[in-house]
Symmetry: C2
Subunit: 355 residues, 2 copies
């Protein structure tokens, strides 16, 4: 299964490492760097759906520029150049399907990652059909976090090419209440999906080669990481935010799922099934101690004016991140991250096999 | 590290599979069957500490009887017969150290598994010292579920031989609020313990060879399973309870952590850091719907009289189990379970290595 998936992305190398479409932070440069390193990079949803057009335009320019270099995909360029070697992510509850489909038709990213529908599986069917009509070679990737969603997808008319199974350890928006650690969730989803032609990727709480190797053992055809790539030089992220990703540890106690920071930022409308994991700071501490939202909002907005000091233990700003933050100790280029993690995963498996 | 650990248990085979000391349910027969299959079986804490004496007496008889058979440990009996080839578990907050030490001195189990202290790391130090004085060859295994506990253990005078790292997916009593999925928790604990001579085992949410292989990739020297062995023929468990383990699936929504069933059973006194994961049934459903505890207690006690129907979706009795229940589909002998899971884990790693 893993080999079959890899063969669909000519440049990709095993184990298959994917950078997840983190809203705004997964920049075109990040996505393309991950693909160039033999993985697959996704551009994140933008503040508005329109932004993905700008981002794909930028990705296209990066690709065109790289093509003029002898180093484009290590000298062996993808044979099928009818799609762009990056993916694009959408949050279905908030994104505009018309704009999205028009953009995909124009730029033909190799994959579209669909998440967080407002109307359940029906939205996945609608988006998948429209995208496939507009760009038949764009793969449909769908992110889920529960067994129920896996069962629903099998009933859908438009079967996804890939299902990303996200464990409760994940950062950013995941399941609010019915999430489960990947160690138990993934194999149970895999058993339900068995017999379908759908490839499964693992996501959530993985930030190094040990986690990648573990996910492959659970049956994943590859791994999607988010938080690890927040500490990539190409991420579209404030320095203060990035430094906090490197600094923080002990995800069990230093992160939590809460809607507080969405509300402080003025973000409303996520379907109730979802809640984001964030690194805890002053806003959350004072919120749980009973301080009024209006106070917290004023302090939050004031903190934002302070730039990078808005993040960190004394900060007040959303710092969405996964529970594996304790495994991230440095900022590196996305290419270095992919190469390093891939080698670590490979050697872990080889070492166990010779035990 | 894994090889070094295995060499201390002459009969053990890689990957190292351990049956956890589940209170009452981990019987002498279960523990010995797991050891005879090349793993290591632990007898659970009893209702009273005194019970472990009876259980170790029974285990000793099983061992003596097996010794007269040519099939004792497949014909190659453990060279060091100064310890009993089974372990024993204690819940430090409730167990009597004097009775425990006296029992260990008399029966010399090969390992003692210590869990849930009332006075934090000091209790581990006290119990470890006393046990080592009484039976120097009895290994000290300590179960933790947080990074903070790992750091504390490194400061202790009496270093454990093995630390069992339990993820939030686990069944029965685990961390109440600061638990985390094994996928992120294990590697971070491993990094903190690096450089110590302590072997790490993984536990929580693992019920098949995929999970065992994954845990080895994360850096574990072996895996401890509880719930999987509730569906062993040798488990000391009601038929209704065991059938529910086999029936239930989707651990994310069909299990939860709650103290309700402890209280319904009249169990009080667990330190506040702990709360048990159980399969949800009528008691919990009605509790969350607001029904009074006294009502629930009366119905619970009445249900108990009904025997096996006290468990199941319409039941009212504690059904402690891990989130991996969806991976357990049959009752088998402990030996078959160990052999099957070990083969599955081995072939998973070999298959990945040749990819």
């Amino acid at each position: 299964m893993a080999t079959k998936l890899l063969s669909r992305f000519a440049w990709a190398t095993s184990p298959f490492i994917v950078s997840a479409p983190m809203r705004i932070m997964s920049s075109p440069a990040l996505a393309f760097a991950v693909s160039q390193a033999g993985g697959l990079g996704f551009i994140g949803p933008g503040a508005k759906t329109q932004d993905t057009e700008t981002d794909l335009e930028e990705a296209k320019k990066l690709v065109e520029k790289a093509k003029t270099s002898s180093n484009y995909f290590g000298g062996s360029s993808p044979s099928d150049q009818s799609t762009l070697p990056v993916g694009i992510g959408y949050q279905l509850w908030g994104d505009d399907i018309e704009v999205a489909v028009r953009t995909i038709e124009r730029f033909r990213p190799c994959a579209a990652w669909l998440y967080a529908p407002k109307n359940g599986p029906q939205d996945f069917d609608d988006w998948s059909r429209r995208i496939r009509q507009a760009s038949p070679k764009t793969e449909i990737w769908i992110q889920i976090g529960t067994l129920a969603e896996a069962r629903q997808l099998l009933q859908n008319t438009e079967k996804p090419d890939v299902v990303v199974v996200q464990g409760a350890e994940s950062g950013g928006h995941g399941r609010a209440k019915d999430g489960l650690g990947l160690m138990s969730l993934f194999p149970e989803v895999a058993d339900v999906m068995k017999g379908s032609e759908i490839n499964l990727l693992a996501a959530g709480g993985i930030a190094d080669g040990r986690g990648v190797a573990a996910a492959l053992c659970l049956g994943a055809s590859g791994v999607a990481m988010g938080t690890r790539f927040l500490a990539a030089t190409e991420a579209r992220i404030s320095k203060g935010y990035q430094e906090e990703i490197v600094r923080a540890s002990d995800g069990a106690v230093s992160t939590t799922r809460t809607l507080l920071y969405n509300h402080l930022r003025g973000t409303f409308g996520w379907p109730p099934e979802y809640s984001p994991r964030t690194i805890i700071n002053k806003s959350y501490e004072e919120h749980t101690a009973g301080r009024a939202f209006d106070d917290l909002k004023a302090l939050h907005d004031e903190a934002l004016k302070g730039g990078d000091s808005a993040w960190g233990p004394e900060g007040r700003t959303a710092t969405y991140a996964g529970a594996a933050i304790g495994l991230i100790h440095d900022v590196a280029s996305a290419g270095e991250i992919v190469h390093h993690i891939r080698e670590e995963a490979r050697s872990r498996v080889q070492c166990l096999a010779s035990d």
